[in-house]
């Protein structure tokens, strides 16, 4: 697929391009600062964008804001945001932008090349990829309503919140898909959420509930 990346560190930018290239993708543009991001995205209309949260000139959250703005201008544009640290507020802001194709990962995860490319594929396909650290932040914060969950159900919820589908969850936990859907049903019942099939809507629902 065609990808636009935004990263200010030349070394990391080249590395990312190399990695995406090796993964069979085409990097159509690479932006090095915040103001360059939006024009590049509007010009190339890529299949996915990989953006660093912190970009020059301000080195604050230019990348995140550019991502949100780009998704407002190009609805449904898949965006994978990378950051040196994760902040649950940022995840909520990204997801608040609406339908599909959002990822928010620690930069460290790039080192696990296969997992990173998987996450990118998921995002490009309109799914969600949330860093386990964001998920654990969410899980530790609003623990009250989650206390009724069994440890297994909590595990399933955690993986679900990362944006994984039932088959992957089943493979990760080494259980059958049927018991995964049973667990998910139980989680939804205990949290009072109507069950749906779309992975992304599940995450949205969970996030919305946890952030309430």
């Amino acid at each position: 697929m065609r990808i636009v990346i935004a990263e200010d560190s030349v070394l990391l930018r080249e590395g990312l391009a190399m990695l995406l290239d090796a993964g069979g993708h085409e990097v159509v543009a690479a932006a090095g600062s915040g103001p360059d991001v939006l024009p590049a995205l509007l010009e190339h209309r890529p299949d996915a964008a990989v953006l660093d949260v912190r970009l020059p000139p301000g080195f604050r959250d230019e990348g995140l804001r550019a991502a949100i703005e780009a998704r407002r201008r190009l609805p449904g544009l898949p965006v994978l945001v990378l950051s040196q640290y994760v902040e649950q507020t940022y995840a909520a802001e990204l997801l608040a932008g609406g339908a599909g194709g959002v990822g928010y990962l620690l930069k460290d995860r790039v080192g696990r090349v296969d997992e990173f490319l998987d996450a990118l594929d998921r995002v490009a396909a309109g799914g969600t990829a949330l860093d386990p650290e964001v998920v654990s932040q969410l899980m530790t914060s609003r623990h009250d309503p989650l206390q009724e969950l069994t440890p297994r159900e909590r595990e399933v919820l955690g993986l679900m919140a990362q944006g994984l589908d039932n088959a992957t969850i089943a493979a990760t936990l080494v259980i059958t898909e049927r018991s995964v859907s049973k667990h998910i049903g139980a989680v939804f019942a205990k949290l009072g959420l109507p069950p749906t099939d779309s992975g992304h809507r599940r995450v949205l629902a969970v996030l919305a509930y946890l952030n309430s």
């Binding site: 949260v53 912190r54 080195f59 604050r60 959250d61 040196q84 640290y85 902040e87 649950q88 507020t89 909520a92 930069k107 460290d108 080192g111 696990r112 932040q137 530790t140 914060s141 609003r142 623990h143 009250d144 952030n211």
Partner: protein, 406 residues
């Protein structure tokens, strides 16, 4: 020789003559010594003796402040230490003496001033009605300063006295009120010199604490980086080197080493993140204090209501404020058993006021638990003040003021 002798004789006579004051002075030594010994023994109780005086002075500060329409600040430093040292400090402190001087001056004048103000009101109708009934009143009861014994007098003097009374009421009474408040302001507000002297003493103390805290922080960061991150990276580099050497002979083992090296690097990154958060939380530089506090509140296990004014402060102040709120919220989540938390942040030109309140079980003790001590230290390092109010069963309120001189 003769001259020398005469001079000595004169001097002797003079010295004997000096006994006229010398002997009484010697006699006076006894009560003086007794007084000194007594006051020396009583000195440790001086702090307790000064307390009611300060309370009285503070009440007057508030009252006079209302009259003047401007606040009279307290000149006192918070008590430091106990007993003897504190007593000596109080004795040296000009505020103590100025308070005492105010007490004397106010004690001598307040009653008289109040009496004048109260008496002049009924005096006016009394005086002005004299022409109507003076002739019927018993001798000496109808007027204050003169005796009315004829109609001409009765028709002039009361009006003169009424005019005088009216003058007192309209001119003197308001001034008495202002003079009284002025006296309080002159003696009870911190003088430039006293406040400067006390500020210097206070700043020297907080500066020492700040340097201490800063040093400890630097040592902690150095230790974290050296023992954690750096060691992890060295180990990873070592594994990569080993993998390089084994790559041709045993690709399987080399791969294991590669994977271990990656894990080591990931671990190092995680530790680095923790260290960075401890130095200056990234969200703070991204979103400012208000945004960072919103993120903090959103991450709490109990609902936390935020009331935060936007606007930026110096980075050190914002970092301290963030640390205070984070620590306070952690305490609330861990120990208070509260169902609700409140965080309020007020930004004034010269200071930042933070209020963190909960409805938990209270009874927080700043001497136990490192969290509150940490807050106090960090706030003191910036010359701020920390107040904790935590009655049993009524929740806890933490109030922190940080100066951010602008």
């Amino acid at each position: 020789m003769n001259r020398l002798l005469r001079r000595s004789a004169e001097a002797t006579a003079e010295l004997v003559g000096a006994l006229r004051t010398g002997l009484p002075a010697m006699a006076g030594l006894v009560p003086l010594a007794a007084g000194l010994v007594l006051s020396f023994l009583l000195l440790p109780w001086l702090p307790s003796a000064v307390k009611p005086l300060r309370a009285l002075a503070n009440a007057e500060r508030r009252r006079a402040g209302r009259v003047l329409g401007r606040e009279i600040p307290e000149p006192y430093r918070p008590p430091s230490g106990e007993g003897f040292g504190e007593a000596l400090r109080l004795l040296r402190s000009p505020s103590t003496w100025r308070d005492a001087a105010w007490m004397a001056a106010h004690g001598l004048t307040a009653l008289a001033a109040a009496a004048v103000a109260v008496a002049v009101w009924p005096a006016i109708p009394f005086t002005l009605s004299l022409p109507l009934w003076w002739w019927a009143a018993p001798e000496g009861s109808q007027a204050a300063f003169i005796t009315l014994d004829s109609w001409p007098k009765a028709l002039t003097m009361p009006f003169l006295q009424g005019a005088l009374d009216l003058g007192i009421l309209l001119w003197l009474v308001p001034r008495l009120r202002r003079w009284q408040a002025g006296l309080a302001e002159a003696l009870l507000s911190p003088t430039r010199r006293t406040s400067l002297a006390e500020r210097v003493e206070e700043l020297a103390e907080t500066r020492a604490e700040a340097l201490e805290a800063h040093g400890a922080e630097l040592r902690r960061i150095e230790r974290d980086l050296h023992d954690g991150t750096q060691a992890q990276l060295v180990a990873a580099a070592l594994r990569l080197g080993l993998a390089d050497r084994r790559f041709d002979a045993d690709p399987g083992a080399a791969r294991t080493l590669f994977l271990e090296a990656r894990e080591g690097v990931e671990e190092a990154l995680t530790q680095l993140r923790t260290v960075i958060r401890g130095i200056y939380p990234p969200i703070l530089s991204d979103r400012g204090l208000a945004g960072a506090l919103r993120a903090l509140a959103a991450g709490q296990p109990i609902p936390v209501e935020l009331d935060v004014e936007d606007g930026r402060a110096p980075a050190a102040v914002e970092a301290a404020a963030y640390f205070v709120v984070a620590e306070a919220l952690t305490n609330i989540a861990r120990h208070s058993g509260a169902r609700h938390g409140w965080v309020a942040l007020r930004r004034e030109p010269a200071r930042l006021t933070i209020n963190v309140r909960d409805d938990g079980k209270g009874g927080a003790d700043p001497d136990r638990g490192s969290g509150l001590a940490g807050i106090r230290r960090r706030v003191a390092a910036l010359d701020g003040t920390t107040r904790l109010h935590s009655p049993d069963g009524e929740g806890t309120t933490l109030q922190v003021e940080l100066p951010c001189g602008s």
